[in-house]
Structure formats: C-alpha cells, structure tokens
C-alpha cells in the first residue's frame, strides 16, 4: 500500500496534540492527527482534568449541602447512584471528544485511530484495527503524553490497587481507601472519595502535601483534610503491599516504625511517567533524558530536525495548558517564525477544597534561589464576599520585587482560586507592578478584590486590613 503523504503529522490527540493539529491546519497545512485510544482528547479529557473536575463538583455540592445546615437550610443526607454519576461524567467526555472530532473535520484534519511507530525520521507506521498505514511526513509532532506511575512493587495485577485512571471510573465507594502520594492528584481524588463516603488515609513520603506550593497556601487544605480525611500521614512510605482476600494488606515505613493495615482499595498517585516507549523513537535522531522525556529546545525542536515534541512527553510541568501553549510554538517554529516558549508564569491549580493556585515565582523558590522579594498577603477573613458564602479560609498573596515593585508571583488559596489566578498570571506575564494592580478598579463584592487589596497591603494602605508595617517580610 502506498504511504500517505502529509506535511505535518501529530501523534497524540490530547490538549497539546489536537491544538497543534488545529493550529497547523489553520495555517493551511495538510495535517494528520493520530490517536491510539478510541476517543480524542487524551488524558486530560478522558481520565484527568475533566472527569476529576466533574466529580469534584459533585463533591463540593455534597459539602455545601452539609454546611448549609449551619445557615438554616437543611438538606437530607444525599444518596448516591454511582451508575448515574458515571454516566453523567461519560456524557461530558463524549460531548467534548465529539466536539474535538467535529472541529478536526471542519478544519480538514485527517484523524487516524491507531498506534503510531516511527520507522525512521520521515516515516510513521500506524497500527489500526483495519491494518497498517504508512505516513510519509515533512514534520512530526510528538504529543504522546504521560501515564500514572505504578511502581513494580505495587503492580500486583489486583484491580483494587488503582491509578488515577481507574479511580476516575469509581467502580465502587470503598470503605477504607489508602492514597499513596499527597500530590495534587491524590489530594483531589481523596476529596472526591471522602465526600462520597470513603474513610481516606493519605500517606506522603515528603514532609507535607502538595510539594511546590508555599506552606501558607497549603494550610487551609490541610485543615480541610484533617476534618474530611481519616488521616494524613506525612514522612511515611509504603514498604510493601499484598493481596489479603478482598482487601489489600499494606506495610508502612513511617517515623514511628513499621505498621500493617488493611484497605479495601489503594490509589497510587506518586507521579506520572512519559509515554516514550514502543513508539520507535530509537529509529529517529530524537534524544531522551534519563527519565525518558524527549529533549527539546525552547522552540519545541528535538535533536531530529523533522520532529518536534510538546506536552508531558517534552518534560517540565505536566499540565494541559502548558502543552497547548507549546503546541502553538511548535507550529510557529515549523513555519519558521521567531517563536519560543518564553512564558514567565505557567499557572498551577489544585482543585482541592479549598482550591490552591499559584503562578510565577513562589516564596519557596525565591528563598531557594536567593531572590530578594517582599510578600503582601490579604486574608479572606477580611473579604466581604468570602463571608457571604461562609468560606473565609482563603488567602491572596503577591510576591514582589522590592526594587522595581514588579509582581513576580501570585498565590491564591480559597474558593474558586483556580478561576481567580488568571488575573495574577496576566499581571506577572505583562510585567505589571503592584501599583498597577492597586490602581485597577475591581468589582465589588467579588473575590477578585483580594488582588487589589493585597496590592494595597503592599503599600500599607489596604482598606479592609490594618497593618502598622508597610510590608510583610
């Protein structure tokens, strides 16, 4: 069979891959998009961002209904129809994936479902249900993403030991659930299962949860977890797991010695690994680092002049929005435009209860790198809006260069922090100063005012807090 000729082929239809394919098609190129799963959208859409947020929304509803009693509005205890919940989640995914497929069609992007394998630097073989297809391309963009890490010691082939992929199917609501790893995936899914009724224990090898975020932003999440989870165990490692009838026997290695416990299910959320194996990269000039991520420059170009890589497989923070930005840069680089990934701020959001979001420089980073900063904090206990929905466990803070007063980083914890952080991202990316933020009118009563007020705190002149000190150090 004659190979199909194309200008650009994109391998992987996640938020990086389909964005790259669409951007290339919009520029007038002939594009083929290859996806190994039966549905477009990648991890984000199918077993990551979107389904987890659907469940978290349900979780927040349950919480709110419970808290509502304090305000004189009492709901009865919710009953949960898991099949219906799952079907609702799947309907969202179908709709989104269908939307992507329709957009591909309208743009004339050819979608091929199958496993891609590089024969050489210009040839791709696709294993489809209907047999092999060969593609001769000018440029390939590798956007094959990552998958949850499952260390060999935990891989007993027992379905009760889950990764995020399985956990998001919610086969059942386990009585006792152990979550190994207190990163954002573990904490988000822990929140979902805890509100659905599981007794959740989270173990984390490090000193605290949500590594990378500043401690003051994590504190409200810790307080929630202490209440909603059975237990949070930092500085604890899982030494061994074994099947014990319908349960999993887990041996811990903690500060207070070894300990054995039984769980109905275990969620392993100890990180993600790149999907760089078994796609024939060794037949190209593409180079990978010791962890298996493809090495790229800031134009997303690999060591192979015909191949770019974007998203999780290209390393760095493994976030959909970073992949989408890289997609555009890869296409611009292929076209020959002067482009590069020069983002100052890539926001991170953890959809816990409450949400945590930050961008740019963190206090921790500043300290580690010896960068002199001043930090201005505005506690939500002084926000009227936060009081109206009974969640004052929030904080907005600015990390500021004391010389130029430029905003280098922004952190938010609290209800809707994920939506709020965008203003911070814009401020950091635009090189805004604290004065700019302080002198921008923010609508009242909203949580967005906390940005303006924290900027005023920097100058020691916030309306709703009083501080003798001009600046907190």
């Amino acid at each position: 069979m004659e190979p199909i000729k194309t200008q650009i082929v994109v391998i992987g239809a996640g938020p990086g891959g389909y964005a790259a394919a669409f951007a290339a098609a919009d520029k007038g190129y002939k594009v083929i998009l290859v996806e190994k799963e039966h549905r477009l959208g990648g991890v984000c859409l199918n077993c990551g961002c979107i389904p987890s947020k659907a469940f978290l929304n349900v979780s927040h509803q349950i919480e709110e209904a419970r808290e509502s009693g304090e305000r004189g509005v009492v709901f009865s205890t919710p009953t949960i129809d898991l099949d219906k919940l799952r079907a609702w989640k799947n309907s969202i995914l179908d709709r989104l994936a269908g939307g992507i497929a329709a957009l591909a069609q309208k743009r004339g992007v050819q979608v091929i479902y199958g496993r891609a394998y590089f024969e050489d630097s210009t040839t791709l073989r696709i294993e489809t249900n209907e047999g092999q297809i060969f593609i001769k391309y000018d440029k390939a963009i590798v956007a094959v993403g990552s998958k949850p890490a499952l260390p060999k010691a935990f891989d007993l082939g027992n379905p009760r030991i889950m990764t995020s992929t399985e956990a998001l199917e919610i086969e059942e609501i386990p009585g006792d659930l152990l979550i190994v790893g207190g990163g954002y995936i573990g904490m988000e899914l822990g929140t979902v299962y805890a509100t659905l009724g599981s007794k959740v224990v989270v173990v984390e090898a490090a000193d605290s949860i949500l590594g990378g975020a500043d401690p003051d932003l994590i504190r409200p999440v810790l307080r929630y977890a202490e209440k909603a989870f059975k237990e949070l165990r930092p500085k604890t490692k899982v030494a061994k797991m074994s099947t014990a009838g319908k349960k999993i026997k887990v041996t811990f290695d903690g500060a207070d010695g070894a300990k054995e416990e039984l769980y109905d299910r275990v969620l392993i959320s100890v990180g993600r690994v790149p999907n760089g194996e078994n796609i024939g990269l060794e037949n190209t000039k593409v180079e990978r680092d010791e962890k298996g991520f493809i090495k790229v420059n800031n134009r997303m170009e690999t060591a192979d002049p015909n191949i770019c890589a974007i998203g999780d497989i290209a390393g760095g923070v493994m976030l959909a929005h970073k992949a989408a930005r890289e997609a555009r840069i890869a296409i611009e680089a292929i076209i020959g435009e002067a482009t590069e990934f020069d983002q100052i701020a890539v926001p991170a959001v953890v959809f816990t209860n409450p949400e945590v979001a930050w961008c740019g420089l963190t206090e921790g980073e500043a300290k580690a790198k010896g960068i002199k900063v001043e930090v201005a904090r505005f506690p939500w206990s002084a926000s009227g809006r936060a009081l109206t929905f009974g969640r004052t466990d929030g904080l907005t803070k600015l990390i500021v260069d004391p010389e130029t007063e430029r905003i280098l980083g922004v952190g938010v914890v609290g209800h809707n922090a994920g939506e709020l952080i965008s203003e911070g991202v814009l401020a950091v990316e635009m090189g805004a100063t604290v004065r700019d933020l302080a002198e921008t009118v923010h609508p009242h009563p909203t949580l967005s005012e906390t940005f303006m007020e924290s900027a005023e705190v920097f100058f020691g002149e916030a309306t709703h807090v009083f501080s003798k000190r001009r600046i907190e150090h």
């Binding site: 020069d342 260069d401 010389e403 130029t404 990316e429 090189g431 805004a432």
Partner: protein, 448 residues
C-alpha cells in the same frame, strides 16, 4: 546585605559614580546619601536603602552603574539601623531635584548648555543586559515583536513602572541602534540629518589617534555632563546657520545708576549687580522684537512666538556649563531679579539647581564679563533662536559731541539663527538693546 542602585526617577536609570561618600567600616543609616551619580542631566545623590556597617564598597569613582547594581555591601550582623526600604516612590521624586556639580557663582561661560527638554539621550535606553534567565518585564506581544526583530529585550530600557518595556521603548531602542549603525557618515549627510531632527546627537568621534607617539599623555573619560554639552553644541552647530553681530554699549550711566542704588538694595538684603539690569534691558528689547523670543518648528513649518520671557543665564561650573532659567523677567522688579540671581548662585553652589530650573528658556545670555575678554561668538541654545554674549566692560576713549571722553564700554555680540532672523532685524535688535542699556530708566531701579 547588599545595597543596590535604586531607581531614582526618569532618566536616572544609570550613571557614572562621581563621588563616594562612605568607606568601609562606616556606619550608614537608611536614607543617608552614600554616593553621587552623574547622568546626562544631573548629579544625583544616591541614598542607602538600608542601614548598617559598610563591609565593602563595590564601586569606584568613574564606574558606570545601572539600576539594581550592587553599590556597597553592609555587614548584616553589625546592622546599625533598621533595614527598612524607603517607600519606593518617594525617593525618586526627591532625588531627582538634586542637581549640578560643584559650586560656582553665576560667572560667565563661553557657551550655553541647552536647558530645554530635548529628546531623551538615546544611549540611556541601553543598559547592561539583565543576567541570563531573568525575564524582562514586557508584555508577551512586545516580547514576540522583539524576537521577530532580533532584539534582545534584556538590553532595552523600560520606561514604565517597574521598568516595564513598552512599544515606544522598543522603538526608541531601535532608532538608537539605527543611528549608531549609520553614524560614520560624511559630514554633509550628518548635517542634513541634524537639520531634519535638531536634537539628533551627531556621529561618533573620529577614529582614535595614538597621541602617545608624540609624548606622554593622560586620558580621562568625558563626564556625562560634558558628553551632553558636546552633543548639544554639535547639534546646534550642524543645524543652525548662525550669524554673529558685534557691537558695544556705553554702560557708564547704567553703572552709575547701579552704584547710586546699590546701598538701598543692600538694605533690602541683596547686592545690586549689573546682571539684573542687563536682564531687564534684554527683556525690554525682546518685547519689541518677539522674533528673538521665538522658536522654529521646522516640522510644522511654523514660528512659535512665546508670550513669556524666560532668560537662560549661562553658568560656568567646575563640572561644566549649566544654563538655569530666570522666569518672567519682564514682569519682575529689579529687586526681585536681584534676589533671583543671588538665589541661583546659591543654588548652583549647593548643587540644587533642578532639571526644571533649566527648562523653558526663551533666550540666553552668556556673560564673560566677570572673567575678562571682549567679543566672542556664542553658540545658540536650541530651540532658542538667539543668544547674547557679553564681554568685560572697560573704560575706552570714545567721541561724544566732538570730544574724546572716557566711557565704560561693554562689548556685546548677538548670535542668531538666520533661518528665522535676517540681518536687518538683528541690526535693529542690537541697536535697540544698546539703547536700552544706555538709556536705562532710573524709575526701574526705584524701590517702592
């Protein structure tokens, strides 16, 4: 901890260290002036942003420094004063006011330095590049444009708050690059360009000559002020078709009047010199000849007549020429003018002449009388169109009513821009000025 150069205000992002006021072991407090920095416009004191004991002075006189550069290191353990930063917006405004170098009475100077707001010297837009990895403060759209143009934004000086680079900064930077790229042009081309844009600093100096071949030499860097003077003089020289008119004024009577009224002025606490009298005479003449108080707007093909008379007074200082401006000379009494001149001298001595004090002049007087010399040909202080040069008055034999008599004669020269002013007008101006000096009304001197 390190004390870095804070942002001192517009046009003060970098400069040359002219004076270091602290040494290792000194105790400094926050806000104390630690060194003085000279840029194109002024000498500004640099305040300590924290207090403590000076462990190390990291710069030396003559160093070029820019905002953020470490100036001194304080011994944190020996901190003597609270390490608070001054409110960042305030010092800028305050420091900017400080100005010129070493004292000097308003004695004459050979030629004026423009006091007018010219185009920001382009060089100031360049900076030592930020260290690798430090992202310049600029919107993504500006960063993209810079990339497309192949411009390293870390070398571009941002004019917005926090040093943020905006489109106009990028444009100015590129214009400067272009100017530098085309610098070594034939003289005619340079002159043509200068005519088109009067304040365009002219070309680079000629190639370096090895003077040591003919004997021992010492090299000294040009101060920023000297560079500014050079650039502006050159711009004027290239732009203005200048004609110089020579004359003499008999100031015997004027000087007698001065002597007569001096004691009365003395009682009012001010010394009556010839300068305010000359200012007054010039202002009266300018009123009759508004063209000499005007500017040429070549771009709009218009003459800009000014309803105010602000006279620049060239002042010779140790560091170089400065031209502070005395405002509304026509509206002020002689007593007021005397006080203004005295205050100016005081300000110059205390280095307190601000940028604003040197802006907005309509006509300049350069008086060498205090030093000596007779006629000289001053250079016009753009965008003004004329300048008066005064030499030392001397008793000379002159003919009055068929008799030779000794009279106190003052040599004067009027240089004017022939683009706007013709020879006839200049001759009439000179005649009227001489008249104004010779027939100075006594009533003007009377104190009310």
């Amino acid at each position: 901890m390190d004390i870095k150069l804070p942002k001192l205000g517009e046009g003060s992002e970098s400069g040359t260290v002219v004076n270091i006021l602290v040494k290792e072991g000194d105790t400094v407090s926050s806000g104390q002036t630690i060194l003085e920095l000279e840029n194109e416009k002024a000498v500004a004191p640099v305040p300590a942003t924290a207090g403590g004991v000076v462990a190390q002075v990291r710069v030396k006189v003559g160093d070029k420094v820019s905002v953020g550069q470490v100036l001194i290191t304080l011994d944190a353990s020996a901190a003597a004063a609270p390490a608070t930063l001054p409110p960042a917006s305030k010092p800028a405004a305050e420091q900017q006011r400080a100005l010129p170098p070493q004292p000097a009475s308003p004695t004459p100077a050979p030629a004026p330095v423009p006091a007018t707001p010219a185009v920001e010297p382009a060089e100031s837009r360049e900076m030592e590049p930020l260290p690798e990895g430090e992202a310049p403060a600029a919107a993504p759209s500006i960063r993209r444009m810079a990339r497309e143009l192949g411009i390293d934004l870390r070398r571009v000086r941002g004019s917005e708050r926090g040093g943020r680079i905006v489109l106009s900064d990028l444009r100015a930077y590129i214009e400067n690059l272009q100017r530098l790229a085309f610098a070594p042009r034939p003289a005619a081309a340079v002159a043509a360009a200068a005519v088109a844009a009067p304040s365009v600093p002219a070309a680079k100096p000629a190639e370096s000559i090895d003077f040591a071949k003919w004997g021992p030499v010492t090299r000294k860097p040009l101060t920023a002020l000297r560079q500014t003077i050079a650039r502006r003089m050159q711009a004027s020289w290239h732009t203005v078709p200048r004609v110089t008119q020579f004359d003499e004024a008999d100031i015997t009577a004027l000087n007698d009047l001065r002597k007569k009224f001096a004691p009365a002025y003395e009682k009012k606490g001010t010394k009556l010199t010839l300068t305010p009298l000359i200012l007054k005479a010039v202002a009266a003449t300018l009123k009759k000849h508004p063209l000499f108080n005007a500017s040429l707007d070549a771009a709009a093909n218009e003459i800009v007549f000014k309803d105010y008379i602000h006279l620049g007074l060239a002042v010779d200082t140790e560091q170089g020429l400065l031209v502070p401006v005395i405002r509304d000379v026509d509206k002020k009494s002689l007593l007021q003018l005397s006080q203004d001149v005295a205050e100016l001298a005081e300000k110059a001595r205390e280095r307190k002449v601000s940028l604003d004090d040197m802006k907005g002049g309509t006509f300049t007087i350069s008086n060498q009388g205090g030093i000596g010399g007779a006629h000289f040909t001053p250079i016009i202080n753009l965008p003004e169109v004329a300048i008066l040069g005064l030499g030392r008055s001397a008793l000379k034999p002159v003919v009055r009513e068929d008799k030779i008599v000794p009279r106190l004669m003052m040599p004067l020269t009027l240089a004017y821009d022939h683009r706007l002013i013709d020879g006839g007008s200049a001759a009439r101006f000179t005649v009227d000025l001489v008249q104004a000096l010779e027939k100075f009304a006594e009533a003007e001197l009377k104190l009310s």
